[in-house]
């Protein structure tokens, strides 16, 4: 009987499948690349008016006199997104812990459904709610209160206007909450029950078991959820545009009106006259793209830094 050849061809189905996956994966990268190239092409005429450095670090934005500085928009985008993440992460983690660790089994599907519903509301509706409910409330109640309580911080000084970084950040917080919360819930569900039991077996209370066994295990997954939320906040346009105040200035106070990269693009694109103004808006798109990449990379480094080594330190 002849020996079967060891070097048989790999299964053709396997090969076709892996080729297909390769094409799909490559297509994803190609689409991203094409978008960047197209934006770059549209933005090219801007080069004759301002340098890259002037564009990224300039603070003045006045298309009628060819002043194109994007820094105020970058600042507004970063500040509103950070406010959103800072507000949404604790709420999401609390919600996740409640649902997975404490809530009776009957409550879980109801709350999960409500969270998913939040994600399904169109962003323009969030904007309307922000404009008619959130902004007046901030102006009359929240911002005066914050000013009195925390007015020693530059973040909470100045007149309570309502429209501004804080309003945009809070709207974004509500919008990214479903993302972070559902990921947190999924991650908490993956924590092995043997770890919880290990903590209970040592005489841990429920809260101690969560802190000692559940959260450390889930930490990197929760941070991943926060990153996805951050990405969504950076790019969100409509709701932010409606409540940010659309003022191209850099202000320390969260009460002050500002502007974000996506909002400028949305507001000015329709009336952009001339090649240079259009080019500048495409340039803002590139800056937003770069900002997203940089923040994601930073956050990933952060995750690696905290994810390494034991949680409780010494020795």
């Amino acid at each position: 009987m002849p020996a079967a050849p060891l070097r048989a061809l790999r299964n053709p189905g396997d090969r076709a499948w892996s080729a297909l996956l390769m094409v799909l994966g490559g297509a994803l990268l190609a689409v991203a690349g094409i978008i960047v190239l197209a934006l770059w092409d549209v933005a090219r005429p801007l080069g004759g008016v301002v340098s890259l450095k002037q564009f990224v670090t300039g603070q003045e934005w006045d298309p009628t006199s060819d002043a194109f500085g994007a820094l105020a928009f970058v600042y507004g985008t970063v500040v509103t997104s950070l406010v959103a993440v800072v507000v949404a992460v604790p709420v999401s983690v609390g919600l996740g812990i409640f649902l997975v660790e404490m809530a009776p089994a009957r409550v879980r599907p109801v709350v999960s459904f409500l969270i998913e519903t939040l994600a399904a509301i169109p962003s323009v509706v969030y904007g309307l709610w922000g404009l008619f409910v959130l902004v007046p409330w901030l102006r009359t109640s929240v911002e005066p209160l914050l000013g009195r309580a925390l007015g020693f911080l530059p973040l909470f000084q100045g007149p309570p206007i309502g429209l501004g970084y804080l309003a945009a950040g809070l709207i974004l917080a509500v919008m990214i909450l479903p993302t972070i919360a559902s990921i947190t819930i999924e991650v908490l569900r993956t924590v092995p029950s043997t770890l919880r039991e290990g903590a209970y077996g040592l005489g841990a209370t429920r809260w101690e078991a969560i802190r000692m066994a559940v959260l450390p295990y889930a930490r990197s997954g929760i941070v991943g959820g926060a990153l996805l939320g951050l990405g969504r906040a950076l790019g969100e346009t409509m709701a932010v545009t409606m409540v940010i105040g659309n003022s191209p200035t850099i202000q320390t106070s969260l009460f002050a009106p500002g502007y974000t990269l996506p909002s400028v693009i949305a507001n000015e694109f329709a009336e952009a006259t001339g090649e240079v103004h259009t080019a500048a808006l495409a340039g803002l798109g590139l800056v937003l793209f770069g900002l997203t990449v940089i923040l994601n990379a930073l956050a990933r480094l952060l995750v690696q830094a905290v994810g390494r080594g034991p949680a409780m330190g010494r020795p």
Partner: protein, 252 residues
């Protein structure tokens, strides 16, 4: 039995989602000795163990009735905090479950921190690791992750972690079933050492193990406690036919 029992179960019934998984179990666990609990899969032996420190009730849909006394005091009493009970009745689980994000040191110190035990943690950790016969293997890498240890070392780490709380009773739920024979032998030697200081109840699948490590053996079958007695008697002259069939390998 001369000394009064450390742990006593009286008319214990345990339920899981309406199914009775333990029926009317009464059993005494004498102090400073090893009581083995044997029986085929699903006989309720793990459930029994988990009733002793009220871990059973943490499973959704599970509850128990009857009495369990620790030094004569009902642990299911209205004013008993199960958290406090579990600090006196520690537990080692079937699969080693060290806290994966903590170092070796922190795993052992976790119980000390939980109980807000002050003083020299380093000395306590060393003492527990020595008691668990792990110190020599890990003393040079206490800061390393607990996940870098072998399965047998992880299980001894979990024993050290349980000892750090200074429990009076140690419940072991098939502590060696996921380990190789050498690691198993180490755990068994360790049980011999530990019974001079702790009262031990061990659930095991392995009848040779029960015969080697225990002073008394209880045989569970289908939710009933069939027979309990000195280990030698259970394995040589059992009173019940079912016990004899099981220990001679006719089923299970």
């Amino acid at each position: 039995m001369s000394a009064p029992a450390k742990l006593t179960a009286v008319d214990l019934h345990a339920f899981f989602r309406g199914t009775e998984v333990l029926r009317d179990v009464s059993l005494e666990i004498p102090p400073l000795s090893v009581t083995a609990i044997i029986g085929p899969s699903g006989c309720g032996k793990s459930t029994f163990l988990r009733c002793l420190n009220r871990m059973h009730e943490l499973t959704p849909g599970a509850h128990a009735t009857g009495r369990i006394e620790l030094d004569g005091q009902d642990v299911y009493g209205r004013d008993v905090d199960p958290v406090h009970l579990r600090r006196r009745v520690g537990m080692v689980f079937q699969r080693p479950n060290p806290f994966p994000t903590m170092s070796i040191f922190d795993n052992v110190a976790a119980g000390l921190r939980l109980n807000r035990i002050r003083g020299d943690h380093e000395a306590s950790v060393e003492r527990c690791l020595r008691q668990a016969a792990l110190w020599d293997e890990v003393k040079d890498r206490l800061g390393a992750s607990a996940l870098g240890l072998s399965g047998g070392q992880q299980q001894r780490l979990c024993i050290a972690r349980a000892l750090a709380v200074e429990p009076e009773v140690l419940l072991m739920d098939e502590p060696a079933s996921a380990l190789d024979p050498i690691a198993t032998a180490k755990i068994e030697d360790l049980i011999h050492e530990l019974k001079t200081r702790y009262t031990i109840a061990i659930v095991t699948h392995n009848m040779q193990q029960a015969a080697r490590v225990s002073d008394r053996t209880a045989f569970f079958y289908m939710g009933d406690l069939v027979e309990v007695g000195p280990t030698e008697q259970i394995f040589t002259t059992p009173r019940e036919q079912r016990t004899e069939d099981y220990v001679t390998g006719k089923f299970g």
